[in-house]
Amino acid sequence: MAEKIESIDDLFVHDLRDIHSAEEQLIAALRKMAAAADAPELSEAFTRHLEQTTDHRQRVEQALAELDASVGDEVCEGVQGLIAEAEESMSAIQSGPVLDAALIDAARKVEHYEITAYRSALSRAHELGHDAVASLLETNLQEEELTDFRLQKLAEGMMPYSGPGSDPRDDGSEVMLGRPATADSDLR
């Protein structure tokens, strides 16, 4: 990040570019994670999220276009570190339930990162009056939240444990507006 951030508008564009880089890195990582997962349902979950992630990247590109901003060459160092952790797990752990548990943990850390990033960008979009951008971000946010919830359910099904919170509202973070009301029924 070389450009100066002089206003909230600059910060908003910067954050969107950061998210774009996060989604792009995740596309590459999810392919590897889908291949490394042992349980077929986990592999499917990663593949499914890979498809969504491709849509997310496109929505962020639309959002930047809406703001007349380029995609830029920002690298999201946060997600870079999180993915490095997932790669460490893939090289240190043999395929099987322990690796699956580690992959779910790594994926949920990425989801938490994205949920925070989208929430903060969404509230900034509202504040700055960018309604079209807000609605693009909201769609992505809801899918990320649902993914985190699905991973949680998978973890519960695979091992006798649950990750952060047994409910998506119980992750120690703020209850947020616009959370998918269908999250629970969708999974039952």
């Binding site: 990040m1 070389a2 450009e3 100066k4 951030i5 002089e6 206003s7 909230i8 508008d9 600059d10 910060l11 954050d15 950061d18 999201c76 160092e77 946060g78 997600v79 870079q80 570190g81 999180l82 490095a84 952790e85 460490e88 797990s89 240190a92 752990i93 043999q94 322990v98 548990a101 580690a102 943990d105 949920r108 850390k109 938490h112 990162y113 949920i115 925070t116 990033a117 903060s120 509230s123 504040e127 973890a155 091992m159 006798p160 444990y161 649950s162 990750g163 952060p164 919170g165 992750d171 120690g172 973070s173 703020e174």
Partner: protein, 168 residues
């Protein structure tokens, strides 16, 4: 280290968390001094104190396993802190800096919430009840710290003023 059992994965998670907290001990004073709003400074300083306690609790967790405390570089936290440093380096307006710092700090909190949540669950699975309690206490504090940051972000620390100034 080959992680071929849940026990080893759990130990690895504690080592990763210990490093994450230690990195945060170094980053928080920088964030506190870069913050403009007094409330935000106070929040970072208060969380610095808590973070010291978190390190102590992790050391206790190692003791409870009969191990000496060890850490492995937590690359996730490294990247998150770098993002915060980028904000400090590149924000030219104090209110924008504060908004950026809150964003960076919330990413850190969410990382920790996810990491402690997972480690806590593994402690439960493995029957380490003493460690479970230690992790739960820290998890609660991370959750509170995140809520505090959300409140500060919503209080908005005069962000509109920053925009007007930038447009003027």
């Amino acid at each position: 280290m080959k992680l071929d059992s849940l026990d080893k994965l759990f130990e690895h998670e504690l080592e990763d968390l210990l490093d994450a907290e230690q990195q945060l001990l170094e980053a928080l004073p920088k964030m506190a001094s870069a913050a403009g709003s007094k409330e935000l400074k106070d929040a970072f300083n208060a969380h610095l104190k808590e973070t010291k306690t978190h390190v102590t609790r992790l050391e206790k967790a190692f003791k409870s396993l009969g191990k000496s405390p060890k850490s492995v570089t937590c690359k996730g936290m490294q990247g998150l802190i770098k993002e915060g440093e980028d904000v400090i380096k590149n924000a030219t307006d104090q209110a924008v800096m504060d908004a950026g710092l809150i964003g960076a700090a919330q990413r850190v909190e969410h990382y920790e919430i996810a990491a402690y949540g997972t480690a806590r669950a593994h402690a439960q699975t493995l029957g380490h009840t003493e460690i479970f309690d230690l992790l739960q206490t820290t998890l609660d504090e991370e959750g509170m710290a995140n809520k505090k940051l959300t409140q500060l972000a919503e209080g908005r620390i005069n962000i509109r003023g920053a925009n007007e100034k930038a447009l003027a």
